[in-house]
């Protein structure tokens, strides 16, 4: 082993407090050190050339540069030694500037300290091994889970860039929540007008496959090489034949609840959620179908011109191999009925959720866009909105802000005025107004001044029916007195919660989720669209409540991250990863348990026993497993226990 040590003066930055020249002489005594040199500016052209020359002429097999922080120049020098034919990981930096010369005054003491820092670096480099980045072939296909606006955006961005994308949507149509909205804040443009073209684009894009009425069943593999099993739920309709004529829907005698209209209306047992559905294909809700329940009917089968009805259809499974997965499963509306008995717990007909109201406002909704009371179908004269139902409320376990309710309330308040006339009294009970987006604050202001919506600051303590009215009792905290408003219609600005089944999905995907079921990003600031599982990304409201602009913006951000990942044919990952000495692994699986990235996996050996194996391309090199393995048979390349112990020894002895 032949180590060269280069000690930088860094002008006077180091040399003023540390005797670089003297150090060069002393370092020469260290075991295996065959060359030392002090240099004015190691990082300069001539400095680097000097290192390269020494590597060649002295046959150096390891290099230490004692200079500034590795965070500053490690990359520089690694490249430098690599150019001279040395593996870049056979290089180590001793930080004698930030950690020595700059923080000390006494030259003698500082020099002594610098010497020890160098000794530590020499010890470390002595145990260094040449490391090579791992390369894996990358599958360039992408799976998007969830076909809401975020999922569609990601899919379109990626498909436009030439990648093959599969969207897995669990409902029979893509579109997500946005498809159910009427108008969108703050522009009050028609939701369908902006969304449906995007849905159609997706449907027709040659690079996009939409798998509606499907769910992800199992995920194996790792970044670049996932294998996903997808369950295609039986729709009882052969979608290859179905032409979406809706004849069956019209003739079907059985009725069932309509999720799409948020329970505001009923739908037929065979249904297509809305006219612009993509794909526009029918499905039978078997729970309500007469044939399935009572064994007679078969009307649909008779009327179907395409002969598409197939009562014997079974769930089928397909497998997709993809390089990256984007999760865009969005959010659900908070099930307020269970939590707010004081608001009638769902038993007062004229108290409805924001999403139901959204459907009511919608021209293609169950009421044809006509706003009326549920109890008597009269047009309401007094409409009260209550904000923060299921948001920012510790009492119901929802401390977070749902981020869209303030805004959609304002939107709906404005729409109420335009639907029911200016003379309608509209009250909004709020705690604070969160209007941080572009044009949002102005939007609220318009609702108040232009449309005359009454904003009352305070919580509503109770809703009760009285004399055909819904009595709204609350506190106006600004004025400091009780208020009681007899309302015709009360709309709860229900907060949002994670999509149903989100935790289970997270487990399938091996990504983390928070206590509310929202998926966790890798780092809230620096890696907001990645998860801790390499190759799995997030978009839209599944990560946290978001409005459409943010969801879409994030979706495009996600798309660019995915593109960044898949732009290469081979994935190069850092070689500083954990590696298991399988001859010693005892298969206790503690490593699998603690790894935040699910990098270790069980690997069966030829003798039938299983040992742990760290998937190099997934491992992020944190070393948690290393500190956990009881046999200490995992080592973290570049930070092996032995190299750390050697460093300790050098720092402590002598």
């Amino acid at each position: 082993m032949r180590i060269g040590v280069f000690i930088c003066h860094c002008g006077t930055n180091i040399a003023a407090t540390v005797d670089s020249h003297g150090l060069a002489e002393r370092a020469a005594e260290l075991k295996d050190v065959v060359h030392t040199e002090d240099v004015m500016y190691t990082c300069s052209e001539p400095g680097q050339a000097g290192i390269q020359r020494a590597i060649r002429e002295k046959g150096l097999t390891r290099v230490v540069v004692a200079a500034c922080s590795p965070q500053m120049h490690e990359v520089t020098f690694r490249r430098c030694v690599e150019d001279a034919g040395l593996n870049p990981h056979l290089f180590e930096m001793a930080n004698i500037r930030e950690h020595c010369s700059w923080i000390h005054d006494d030259k003698e003491l500082a020099t002594e300290k610098a010497y020890e820092i160098i000794k530590m670096a020499v010890a470390k480099v002595r145990t260094a091994e040449p490391l090579f980045p791992n390369e894996v072939d990358v599958n360039k296909d992408v799976l998007v889970i969830g076909g809401g606006v975020a999922g569609i955006q990601v899919a379109l961005d990626l498909a436009d860039a030439g990648l093959k994308v599969t969207i897995v949507e669990r409902e029979t149509t893509i579109g997500g929540t946005m498809a159910r909205l009427d108008k969108t804040f703050p522009t009050i443009d028609c939701s369908a007008c902006i969304l449906t073209p995007r849905m159609v684009d997706a449907a027709h894009h040659e690079n996009i496959t939409i798998m509606a009425y499907s769910e992800v069943d199992r995920v194996q593999g790792y970044v670049g090489n996932f294998v996903v099993d997808i369950k295609r739920k039986a729709a009882m309709v052969d979608w290859n034949r179905c032409i979406g004529c809706e004849l069956c829907v019209q003739k079907c005698p059985a009725r069932g609840p309509d999720y799409f209209n948020a329970g505001l209306a009923e739908t037929k047992a065979i249904y297509i959620p809305f006219p612009q559905a993509v794909p526009k294909r029918a499905a039978i809700q078997t729970d309500y179908c007469r044939w399935f329940q009572q064994g007679k009917c078969r009307v649909c089968s008779r009327v179907c011109p395409a002969n598409a009805i197939d009562y014997d259809q079974q769930d089928t499974y397909v497998q997709r191999k993809v390089g990256a997965i984007v999760v865009a499963t969005g959010m659900d509306v908070f099930p307020w009925e269970e939590y707010y008995p004081q608001y009638g717990g769902g038993r007062i007909p004229d108290v409805i959720s924001g999403l139901q109201y959204e459907r009511m406002l919608n021209a293609s909704g169950p009421t044809g866009g006509h706003v009326h009371r549920i109890s008597n179908h009269e047009e309401p004269k007094t409409v009260v909105f209550i904000q923060c139902v299921g948001s920012r409320d510790e009492a119901v376990g929802r401390p977070y802000c749902s981020s869209v309710c303030c805004m959609y309330t304002a939107k709906q308040a404005i729409l109420t005025k335009s639907h029911c006339g200016d003379d309608t009294d509209v009250y909004v009970f709020y705690i604070d107004i969160r209007a941080t987006g572009k044009g949002y604050e102005e939007f609220i202001k318009r609702a108040q001044s232009e449309f005359g919506v009454n904003y009352v600051r305070g919580r509503v303590s109770k809703l009760y029916e009285d004399n055909g009215k819904v009595m709204v009792r609350g506190m106006d905290t600004l004025l400091g007195h009780q208020v009681e408003i007899p309302a015709d219609l009360v709309i709860l600005a229900t907060g949002t919660t994670s999509a149903e089944g989100a935790p289970q999905l997270a487990q399938t995907l091996n990504i983390s989720y928070d206590e509310f079921g929202f998926f966790k990003e890798s780092h809230p600031k620096l890696r907001p669209v990645e998860t801790n599982t390499a190759g799995i990304f997030l978009a839209g409201a599944c990560q946290s409540p978001k409005d459409i602009p943010t969801s879409v913006a994030q979706a495009s951000g996600t798309a660019s991250k995915v593109l960044g990942l898949l732009a290469k044919d081979k994935l190069k990952t850092s070689p500083e990863v954990a590696v298991v000495d399988q001859s010693r692994c005892v298969g206790c699986w503690k490593c699998i348990d603690v790894c935040p990235f699910s990098a270790p996996e069980k690997q069966e050996l030829r003798d039938g026993t299983s040992r742990s194996h760290v998937i190099e391309t997934v491992c992020q090199g944190c070393g948690i497993c290393v500190a956990t393995c009881p046999v200490n048979c995992i080592s973290l390349k570049g930070f092996t226990t032995d190299s750390l112990i050697d460093q300790l020894e050098e720092a402590l002895l002598g």
């Binding site: 082993m1 032949r2 046959g59 097999t61 091994e129």
Partner: protein, 305 residues
């Protein structure tokens, strides 16, 4: 079992038997301190395969270098002070007086340490150890060498020796296999052997490999194909345990008697001189009674391979 019962040739050694100031390398068995390595310098490193390097080392003491001799098949402990020692076959020719060659496959701690060495670095050597092949007994016979992977290291010295003494032996066949062509050691030897008409050299790799137009197949299978006649032939084999197992089966099928088959064993070894205890195969120690055993000898020993 008291001292009196001990016959004179089986008596204990005393300090009087000790040659002062010497290490094992200087005087084999009756040496002074058998644990003291002789220092040597790495004079040349040859990268044989991606994970095998050959080290040519020269004793620092010229007298020792000049006086060193060994039997083909004997081994030595090669060590890096500070890391440890491990056992390797001496695979240079016994007639090579300039250096000793060891081929080291990177495996664990010591071998990694060795692979980190550069030319001019120091190593410690304790050699020779153990028992070599009975090459003198084999004179006048056909020789069949069957080896796989790093097993070639254990046989190279013997092959070189018998080739130097070519006239003393009848037909010589060398069957050598590796996983891929990249894993073939001693390419320089192979070229020479293949060029010679007085030996039959068969090189094979486990599976087809881009650019390889030679033979493909596992060593035992190729051996059965070659079907060498057992008459007056000695078969010598070394390689990974699984290969040895099947080679032995193949040889048996071909009609080789246990006495005609030799192999060299690997066991974990520490002292290398029959004291520390671990490399026993029943009452035999691989380090002093081996590593070379005939199959006949092995049959008599407990099966703890």
């Amino acid at each position: 079992m008291s001292d009196e019962a001990v016959s004179s040739e089986r008596r204990r050694l005393t300090f009087a038997d000790v040659e002062l100031g010497s290490s094992i390398a200087r005087a084999a068995r009756y040496a002074g301190n058998p644990y003291l390595p002789e220092t040597a310098t790495v004079v040349e490193i040859i990268q044989e395969t991606p994970n095998i390097k050959s080290f040519r080392v020269r004793f620092d003491d010229e007298q020792v270098q000049a006086g060193f001799s060994f039997q083909p098949g004997q081994v030595g402990q090669l060590g890096v002070l500070g890391i440890g020692e491990a056992t390797f076959a001496i695979n240079s020719s016994p007639s090579e007086k300039e250096y000793l060659q060891f081929s080291v496959m990177q495996a664990g701690e010591v071998t990694i340490g060795l692979h980190c060495l550069s030319e001019r670095d120091k190593v410690g050597v304790r050699a020779p150890m153990g028992r070599g092949f009975p090459v003198e007994e084999w004179k006048g016979k056909n020789l069949l060498y069957v080896m796989g992977g790093i097993g070639s290291a254990a046989l190279r010295a013997t092959i070189l020796y018998t080739l130097e003494q070519r006239a003393e032996y009848q037909d010589i066949t060398i069957l050598y296999g590796a996983r891929t062509p990249v894993d073939l050691t001693y390419q320089y030897d192979i070229d020479e052997w293949e060029a010679r008409s007085d030996i039959n050299t068969v090189i094979t790799v486990d599976a087809p490999f881009p650019g390889w137009d030679g033979r493909v197949g596992f060593v035992p299978a190729v051996l059965e194909e070659l079907a060498p006649a057992p008459a007056n032939t000695v078969a010598v084999t070394c390689g990974p345990p699984i290969m040895i197992k099947f080679v032995l089966q193949a040889l048996q099928k071909l009609g080789f008697a246990d006495e005609q088959v030799y192999t060299t064993l690997e066991k974990r070894m520490k002292c290398g001189i029959g004291i520390c205890g671990r490399c026993n195969l029943g009452p035999k120690y691989v380090c002093v009674d081996g590593p070379v055993f005939s199959l006949a000898e092995l049959r008599d020993l407990p099966d703890e391979l």
